[in-house]
Point group: C2
Chain length 279, copies 2
Amino acid sequence: MRTYLDCYPCFLRQALDGARYAGADHRQQQRVLSHTLDLLRRVEPSRTPPEIGDEVHRIIRRICGNSDPYRGVKDACTRQALALFPELKARVQEAVDPLDVALRLSIAGNIIDLGPDHEYDLWDVIERVLSQAFALDDRAALRQALDEADEVLYLADNAGETVFDRILIEALDVPVTYAVKGGPVLNDATLEDAWAAGLERAATLVDTGSDAPGTILDRCSPAFRASYDGAELIIAKGQANYETLSGAGLRVFLLLQTKCPVIARDVGVPVGSIVVKQG
Amino acid sequence: MRTYLDCYPCFLRQALDGARYAGADHRQQQRVLSHTLDLLRRVEPSRTPPEIGDEVHRIIRRICGNSDPYRGVKDACTRQALALFPELKARVQEAVDPLDVALRLSIAGNIIDLGPDHEYDLWDVIERVLSQAFALDDRAALRQALDEADEVLYLADNAGETVFDRILIEALDVPVTYAVKGGPVLNDATLEDAWAAGLERAATLVDTGSDAPGTILDRCSPAFRASYDGAELIIAKGQANYETLSGAGLRVFLLLQTKCPVIARDVGVPVGSIVVKQG
């Protein structure tokens, strides 16, 4: 997805939010803002929002001298999600269609996203998503692809959401490689967050070799690229993966909630929708 | 009120909104955004938000070649409010305390504001404000000042809100001078908008001589300055007048709804509050 003009105010807001998560004082916040204004003046708008967001978060980390501003909130999100894990597992086990419930829970977990400017009650979101109609529904194609695949490459999104991904992965009959970020950016999951959520019990853990949001392939490690290029079936979670992988081919399934109005418009659905999109 | 860092993303959003109200094509929107980024890079943060907003709206008008981008929406807001006028008058006439109801209606009308990023249902807002508790309540001081004053200088805010101001002015026992902007900016009322709302039947109409949002005194005409300096009692409507006149002395009463989180925090009340603040 290209960067829309409406993304610019949002980059500026995210720069301030990030600086505050990093514990920046007023002067540091001013510097982050000012450097982000410079960045936005010179940035090539044909780039995707996560590519620009990547630079914004580098500015935050550099100026605030904090390599992982979202560490505390990521840990809290993982703990909150883990506390729900037994209840979520029970919901899947009791379900008439366990795979559908697990898929919905994985999408419900995508609400745990500190990029957009939104507040949420996690349990309310779970209840909503369990009964919500899909605004874009390629579930049948995903089920067929899952039946035919020998393995799945699963591209993670955020810490805490990892626990919901584990629910889905444990409901699959096929081995999964779970790919997290190569380093901290925003509240995206790294190996540390995947371990904290117990993903090593459900999947083979790898990292993409990149600390940019989404999946920017030419920034990933050769090892991850080889894994991506050879994958039969790719499940990619969240908005940033939509922004970077939409249009990447029929073996890619994008699972997300549309929280941002610009992304929702690009997908062609209302804000607050749940989406399974092939390709 | 000083400009907070959180105002910067909002200026950028308002620049885009304004360009679209002006009918800008994509290229013009890009130019407006780019010029606004330049402005925000060099602007002195000790200035008030309306002073910076004034420059943003000048960029919009110049680049889009549209001297009054909000003309259509201002007319529509005035028509919508005028359609409610008989019902609003009846509410005041039937009230046990007509002045209180008229004051509340004037504050309800302050919802008609295209600066903040918000949507509203006008009648829902009216019903809410008629029974809402004031978060900051200098009504008693205002009533006393109205009892003692020989005349009132009333600083208008937005087109459409004018109709609600007329309701309050017609409930006062004292002559009123109603001051609108000297030229179009955002959806602020000009003489044209005051006439369309029938204000000439209720008050003496003047303009401030300035087309900046709020009331930036050193940008106003000498005639208006003289009127302001000599006024016994000043009623100033809306957020931009709060931003430019807060702290201007005890003869000034600020009447507003807090729609913007930054202004709400500066006032010390929640977003969505109704406020009568002396000085």
